[in-house]
């Protein structure tokens, strides 16, 4: 990545520069606005309330749990999409990426209708095991995983496609079963891709709002994550909402900073 293309000493055409700067300003200015309007003098006070920490802790825990869920089922799913010739694979991939473009609140409605107390699966869970998912922290984790997992699957699938399958074939000729080859050869090979996907999924889960509030409701300490707290604070105390937003902004920037080489560099082979 230290390789830079030979630079042509050409001036940037104004017709490209102007809209580019406009676009940049459009993306950056709102964040600057957040910093400018932040109630810096009362910030420690705003952030020291127990509600903030409850919401932040719940956010961190549920985003991490959602990432774990995504890893457990997402990595095998990515492998299935990248390394096998199952029928309808392209269709399956389209389905897997659907939550990327689906409005999260639609995902929340769908989850509620399937896993809710009266849902197709939820009714059975309730009667057989006494488990109801809406309005629980488990519900938050599911809602977040639904929205975040595609990021992980896509990332891991990309890593798998970039990894040379001949290593696995070599392992197979040496007597390793397919599962062993996956565990001992493929997984270490694509570990960076998995890590990048996991961080991305975690960040997405952390910011999840629509599916969470629709499926899991809003209750402090149980289902009220940071984005929900921000939204509700905005209805009565905009100052508090700005303070909470700053916390989320800080966490997001930290995540991106950690990811900078993997994701934002783009164009890696």
């Amino acid at each position: 990545m230290s390789r830079t293309a030979p630079r042509h000493r050409r001036r940037i055409p104004l017709a490209l520069l102007l809209p580019a700067l406009l676009g940049l300003a459009f993306l950056v200015l709102p964040l600057v606005g957040l910093l400018v309007r932040a109630p810096w003098s009362t910030l420690p006070e705003q952030l020291s309330s127990p509600e903030v920490w409850t919401a932040l802790r719940l956010s961190l825990i549920s985003a991490t749990a959602a990432t774990a869920v995504s890893l457990v089922v997402g990595v095998p799913l990515a492998w299935l999409l990248a390394r096998t010739e199952i029928p309808g694979r392209r269709f399956i991939r389209a389905l897997v990426t659907l939550p990327l473009v689906l409005p999260p609140v639609v995902g929340g409605v769908a989850l509620l209708l399937v896993l809710g107390r009266n849902g197709i699966v939820g009714r059975w869970l309730d009667s057989a095991f006494g488990i109801t998912l809406p309005f629980t922290t488990g519900g938050v984790v599911l809602a977040e995983a639904f929205v975040a997992m595609p990021f992980l699957v896509i990332s891991v699938e990309g890593a798998l496609r970039a990894a040379d399958p001949r290593y696995e074939e070599a392992a197979a000729t040496l007597g390793a079963s397919r599962l062993t080859a996956f565990r001992r050869v493929t997984l270490p090979l694509i570990a960076p891709g998995i890590a990048a996907g996991a961080v991305l999924a975690w960040a997405r889960a952390l910011g999840e709002f629509g599916a969470t509030i629709t499926f899991a409701g809003n209750f402090p300490g149980r289902t009220q994550t940071m984005p929900l707290a921000v939204y509700l604070a905005m209805e009565s105390e905009p100052e508090a909402a700005i303070a909470l937003s700053l916390v989320l902004l800080t966490v997001s920037v930290a995540v991106l900073a950690g990811l900078r080489d993997r994701w934002t560099a783009g164009g890696q082979a």
Binding site: L14, P19, G116, F135, L232, E235, S236
Partner: protein, 267 residues
């Protein structure tokens, strides 16, 4: 040669941007035109009126909006229903609304404190709480005390129905842990309708409007938590004449009847 081409490109970009801006501007003009053209004091309102109203007013205001449009040809009423507090915040932040109808004086105060209301808000109805339960009341809920044993949805304390619910629970000495705190009263109601909760505290009018799908249980403590609904035309109303006319209409005898039929108490 390249310079010329570059100039043309710049000019094109600027033109495109200007065209975009003009389009935005002209799009906003119709609602800006005040209805004072004929110069008479009681000018007939025309143009668009944007009304921000509490979610609990949805049914009756939709009705009243149509009636108001019929009585004033050339007027188009657009509603934005939601939690009163969120609506108040967006008005204070500069949302182009003409009229605000809130579900509590406290949320209206957000607007008047910001000097965003034109004149004093007027209370036009009041509303009391009821317990909404699924059809047939399967959990046999008879009062607030029964809510401690079942899954209950409340409104968040930030919105009027939540503030009223807290007041009622306090009055009844009932300490209950809801499963969710919803953003507005319709959210709390939907959760009952879907069967995801066993009960929720909503307005009597919401129970009445949704009587096909849910039942209501009234309880004595509701008397301690009556919500007044104030309405006001807004100081920065894009269409001040129509805003004033709409506020007058909501306080008319005809509107009172519609609101009364919906279950509101009219002062």
């Amino acid at each position: 040669m390249t310079t010329t081409r570059r100039r043309t490109a710049v000019a094109a970009t600027v033109l495109a941007l200007a065209a975009g801006l003009t389009a935005c501007g002209s799009g906003a003009t119709p609602s800006n035109s005040p209805a004072t053209a004929d110069g008479t004091g009681a000018a007939k309102p025309t143009g668009a009126v944007t009304v921000f109203a509490a979610a609990s007013l949805k049914g009756s205001f939709t009705d009243l909006g149509k009636k108001f449009e019929a009585a004033n040809p050339g007027v188009k009423v657009t509603f934005n229903f939601g939690g009163s507090s969120a609506l108040a915040q967006s008005i204070v932040s500069g949302a182009p609304a003409d009229v605000f109808a809130a579900a509590s004086p406290a949320t209206m105060k957000t607007v008047t404190d910001a000097k965003a209301a034109a004149g004093d808000p007027k209370v036009f109805v009041r509303n009391t709480l009821e317990i909404a339960v699924p059809k047939g009341n399967p959990r046999h809920i008879t009062g607030l005390k029964d809510l401690t044993g079942v899954k209950t949805a409340l409104c968040a304390k930030e919105v009027p129905c939540g503030a009223a619910a807290l007041k009622a629970l306090e009055a009844g000495g009932v300490n209950l842990t809801p499963v969710t705190l919803e953003q507005d009263v319709k959210g709390a109601l939907t959760k009952v309708e879907l069967g995801e909760v066993d009960a929720s505290l909503v307005y009597k009018t919401d129970v009445k409007a949704d009587a096909a799908k849910i039942d209501g249980v009234s309880f004595p403590e509701a008397e301690k938590a009556v919500n007044d609904y104030p309405i006001a035309a807004l100081a920065k109303a894009p269409n001040a004449a129509a805003a004033a006319a709409f506020v007058t209409y909501i306080r008319s005898a005809e509107a009172k009847q519609v609101l009364g039929e919906a279950g509101f108490q009219t002062p």
